[in-house]
Structures are given as structure tokens and as C-alpha cells.
Symmetry: C3
Subunit: 270 residues, 3 copies
């Protein structure tokens, strides 16, 4: 219960502090990430030239790195910005989109994890298992990679990387060391709109940019996206589909209140 | 009639197979293309770094190449991905946005056509005439370029390039060799929203990724966009304009059924 | 009064002439800028490769330069396109997004202003003050940079740069030499959606591409965005937030009439 209360209170914290969230992200969902950041009450900035990312991140409350459309130019910007953020103690939220699909994605995720040490890594089960796997090359991949138990994967990876691990799916899992929570908000329609994962990562960035606890921040961001999915789906009328659903996600996040979080948040502590 | 039935059945096919549609496309309408791909039931991936496009396309059901915001980096990625797709027999759908406007666009379209041999080329009448023209430099440009008859242009170009040629406009024309169909769905408001051409190309990619007939796939994708325009326009109320219309395009594609296609599809065989 | 009438008439002018508006802009809000350009009745083209921007801009009614996600590649394209537009007498609208935040942004804005000589510069108060400041390094920064009076800043900067200066905020200020107008349309929700500044700049580009008076064009573009914000906010019902608001901005611009401008435009001549 206390974590739900903390999430509700931290929603107010974002609106009060309006943290700047520096994104180096993909060009598919970048507009959605910017609007989601504004919807929750934070302030987005997207900047990816290597000549300015260190300066830009130094003003930021958090840094969001997303490899959805990575390229050789922006990979270097992510590493430079990430190292600067790390030095300055600015939380780094990493979304390893599509890791495992290509060597470039896997290698880049590996470099970001090794060189930048993200504070939070958010992905779906298969992305997180890939990361658990390549981290395991020394200790033996198979044990973890074959584990069907997402909770165990999340906890072990969290301990290994000293990062919050957030796995989103039907049931979301957030782990940090031996702390773990599961979130049961959300709706299957969220997977029919591009960028809902990216937006969840941005919302994590907003919370982590306002509060000093990335575990709660990760749970909060993921819960907001889940609640938005429920509210958006609930609002649909005959003939309305993913276009209206998508628009209502922004309506939902911009009108969510602490009271609604306390009433509808489904979080389960381990 | 039989082609209309085939289109209706193939809509189910996409939803069953959920083909991965690899796009190398422009940054203006990329989000719309991803959401349209999801709306019809396929799965989009956007990846354009030369270091990963060959690997990525090898998992794909089809490859969509769109030169709307081409640049020297992504042109090379398109060629490399296209050649790989060609080798593997993966359908390639090419949208020559703005060909003829600049030497870079015309030269790039020419290279893609020569080096990649797209399975389907979709453009408006002026884009297709430009392509017919530069292909005609040997046989004499004027005859074809001056022809007002789009059907003749489409058929001749189709034979020359061994590709399906799709010309979208008030009446859409799809030709392959001596096969030809015309589609009379659609609404003029479609031209007041950016990316409806790009989205039609993505929808063609979705059908071609699920079925083994690019002629039917091209007709199907174009018809879906036309039906979406009709449904979206029909839903508008007083004071609603292109913002609402645009959102409803996604609603329409995500809620279209085979039955609606059979009832409202306007297709005319030659 | 006469300027309001002129704005209303020029809305018709855009729809008649359908000027092509060449944008070199950021990838966050580029889709919104394209759709806003279409909503008002003009025609957008986004092209940023240095190999085609000179050719492309030569067909354009105006050129919009926006440094929201500038990078080393597109900075050079902006300069080349801008110089070509300048030579040909094509109006250039410059949006110095985030100038002052990083050396790269400030240096790039300085280069664009010096080498391209924009016809209109639109920014918020802090962006325009930064520009007034660095332009003042010779004459003494402090006098202007410390001036709280936006109108004085706008007028002095306009005279110095021989450009229309447009400052958007609660009250918008547009100055050219000793001409000045203030606009009191708009709504605070406009600041909760990404890209409303960029879209205002695009709308200025649409007017400047259709008429031969960048002062009126700047006032007109800014007023359209303000009226759209008012109409969009007014349409909201319980539970609707920034998602619906954002969509309605496009509805509003696409349905605005000269009569509505004459009735609701709040403009005040100095």
C-alpha cells in the first residue's frame, strides 16, 4: 500500500518541479514521448547532436535513451550523454528496443549498459531476457535465459547491473535488488498502438527526474501507462478503434489525479 | 468480383500471420505508417542503419522503401536492404515520394528501381509518369510521358519493370502485365492529411507480407485506405475537420471487417 | 482594424495559391507542421539533404528553418537552402528553438541570422532575448538583455536585423521597424502540447508564402494558432485533455473562416 501512496504523491511532485527530461530517442514515437512528458507535467527536450548532448543533459532531471531507430551517429551521442549523466548523478532510463533482433542492437545495448550503467532498464520479457543472457555469457547464459520466471530474471539482472529492471507485459514486474512489485493495470489494446512502451519509458523518466527513488519511479511510470490504457479503452464507443484509443491515452495521463491512482492502481509487493 | 473476395479474405490472413513489415521511410509520416501497420493487424519495424538493415529485413514479410525525406545515409541503407530482400524473395514496395522534384530524388528512384527491382511501385500520376519517363529515355520519353491515359502508362511500365504499378488518385489504377483493376473508393479529404499516400504504401506492404500475390496486395492496400477515407469522412460532425478525420482513419482501418470490404469495395476489372 | 481585415483576406489567398512551404525542421513535430500547413490550405515539403535543398527551395513560396533537433548534417543544409532562398527573394522564417540552451544552438542561430538573414524570426521571450543579446555583443549586451520590455526588444532587434520579430507568449508581439502589433488570442493549454510554437512558425510560413508582407504574415500565422487554441479548448468536454485538445487544433485551423477571424481576432496596433 505505501508504494501506491508514494506514487500518488509523486504525481504531484512532477507537476510542482516540472523536471526537464532529455530524450535521445527514435524518430517513430518521439512526438508521442514529448506529448506524454508534457501530459504528466514534466518538460521534454529532444537533442541528439554529439556537439550539444553533454551540455543539454547537464540541465536535465533525467535522461531517456531509446534505441528504436539507432544509428551510428546517435549511438555515440547516447554514450556521451549517458556518461555525463552518470558523472552528474542524473538518472538514466534505458529502453533497449528490439535488442536481440540485430547484432547492432545487441552490441549497442551491451555498450550502453557497460559504459553508461543505466539506473532503470525497461523492456518486454524477451528484451530483458536477451539482456540477462548477454550479461550471463561469463556465468553461463542458459540458466537465466531459459528461466520462464520473469521475476527471477528481473531480480538477478537487477542485482548484477545494480539497476532497476522493469519488465512490461500483461503483468508488469519491477525489481531492484531484492525489492519487487507487480503491476496489473493496463489493457491489451496498448500493444496495438506504436510507442506505448517508449511512452512508458518516458513516464518513468518523468518520475525519476522528480524523485530520488528509481524503483518507485519505474513502478509509477508503468502504472500511469497502464491506467491510461484502461481509461482510454473504457471511453471507447461503437466504431472507435485505435485512433481514438491513442488520443485518449494523452487525455488520460493529462487528467489523472492522485485520487484516481489510489482508487485504480493495482500493485502487489513481493 | 473474385478479387474483392480475395481482398476480404486476405484481411483475415494479415491478422492471422501478423507479418513483420520493415520500413525504411521518412521521418514526417513514420509514426502514421507504424500505427497503420498495427491497425490492420501486422507488425511494423523501422530500422535504417546500414549496420542492421540486412539482418532486420531477413525476418520481414515485406520491405517498404519510401524516399520522402531521403538522405545520403539512408539511400545506401535502402539499396542494401532492398538487395537483400530481393535475394531472399521478400516483396519490396517502393514509394517514390516527390520523384522529379529534384535530381537527388529522381536519381535515387532510378537507382532503387534498377538495383533493387521493387515488386510494387505506388505513386500519384505525376510520380509514375516521371518514372515511366526516365525508364523511357531509350525508347523515347515523349510517347509515354505525354500520354494522358494512366492505364496505358501503368501497364507499359509494369511490363517494362516486371513490377506491379499502382497509381493513386480519384480513380486508383493497379496494373501488372496485362492485368488491371481500377478502384473508386476514397475521399478528397485524404489529400488534406499528410502521409495518406505513405500509409497506403504501408498497407500494401502488409498485404504483400501476408499473401503471395502483389497485384492483389496492392489493390487491397489501396482499397483499405480508400474505405478508411470514406468511413472517416462519413463520421464527421459539425466543427470537425482534418484533425478528427485523421484520427478516424486509424479507427476505420482497425475496425474494418471482411464483410465491410465486400459491401463497400468498388473495384473494376479490366 | 485594417490589419485584421488583411489577415482574413489573406486566409483566402493561401487557399487560392496553395504555396509550397519548404521546411527543414525537427523530427519531433515535423508531422504536426506538415498537417498544419495542409490544414490552412498550403502544401508542405520536408527535405533536408544538402544534395537537394537548393533545388527544392527554388520551387517554394517560403522556407521554414527550425533548429529543434539540429545536427551537423542539417545545419549545413539549412545554411545552403537559406542562402538560395535569400538570393531568390523567397521569405525565410526562422524558429530558433532552444537558442541559449547550448553553444551549438546559439552558434547555429547566430550563423543562420548572419549568413541567411531571415525575413521573420519567431520565438518565445527568452529565445528572442538571447538573440537580442548576442547581436548586442558589440553595442553592449546588458541594456537590451536586461530590458523587461518585450516590445522594445522586438523593435530594436527588428531594426538591427531588418527582420520581422515575433515574440509569442500570453500576449504576442510582432514588430517590424517601427511597426508593432500585439495579439491577445490563445490559451494556456497551447503550452501543454509539443510543437505549438513550431506550428505557429509553419503557419507564418504559409502566409508569407502567399502574400508579399511578412509583417502581416507573421501576425496572421500567430493569430491562427491562437484562435485554434481558443476553439480547441472551448470544445473540450469532461474527461478530455491534451490529446483531444491537440487534435482539435487541426480541426480548428482547417475550418477557420475569414468571418471567424474578423469576429474573434484580438489585435492591437501600436
Amino acid at each position: 500500500m505505501e508504494i501506491l501512496q508514494s506514487i500518488a504523491e509523486n504525481l504531484r511532485g512532477i507537476k510542482d518541479k516540472k523536471p526537464l527530461i532529455h530524450h535521445i530517442t527514435n524518430y517513430v514515437t518521439v512526438n508521442d514521448c514529448a506529448n506524454m512528458t508534457l501530459a504528466i507535467g514534466a518538460s521534454p527536450v529532444m537533442a541528439d547532436d554529439i556537439g550539444e548532448v553533454e551540455e543539454m543533459v547537464s540541465f536535465a532531471g533525467s535522461l531517456v535513451l531509446n534505441i528504436g531507430t539507432l544509428n551510428s551517429r546517435t549511438i555515440e551521442s547516447m554514450l556521451v550523454a549517458g556518461k555525463k549523466a552518470r558523472q552528474m548523478g542524473i538518472p538514466i532510463i534505458f529502453d533497449p528496443v528490439g535488442v536481440g533482433a540485430t547484432k547492432l542492437r545487441t552490441g549497442t545495448a551491451e555498450r550502453i549498459i557497460r559504459e553508461v550503467c543505466p539506473s532503470v532498464i525497461r523492456g518486454n520479457m524477451s528484451e530483458i531476457k536477451i539482456i540477462a543472457g548477454f550479461q550471463e555469457t561469463i556465468k553461463g547464459v542458459d540458466s537465466v535465459a531459459s528461466a520462464e520466471d520473469g521475476e527471477q530474471v528481473a531480480q538477478e539482472l537487477s542485482q548484477k547491473l545494480a539497476a532497476v529492471i522493469a519488465i512490461t507485459g500483461k503483468r508488469d514486474i519491477i525489481a531492484q535488488g531484492d525489492r519487487i512489485v507487480r503491476i496489473d493495470n493496463g489493457h491489451p489494446m496498448l500493444s496495438q498502438v506504436t510507442g506505448t512502451g517508449c511512452m512508458a519509458t518516458s513516464l518513468i523518466g518523468c518520475f525519476c527526474g522528480a524523485i530520488n527513488d528509481c524503483f518507485t519511479g519505474a513502478a509509477a511510470g508503468i502504472m500511469m501507462m497502464g491506467l491510461a490504457g484502461e481509461l482510454a479503452q473504457h471511453s471507447l464507443q461503437a466504431g472507435e478503434g485505435i485512433g481514438t484509443f491513442r488520443m485518449r491515452l494523452f487525455d488520460a495521463v493529462s487528467t489523472l489525479t492522485p485520487k484516481m491512482i489510489l482508487e485504480a492502481g493495482k500493485i502487489n509487493k513481493g
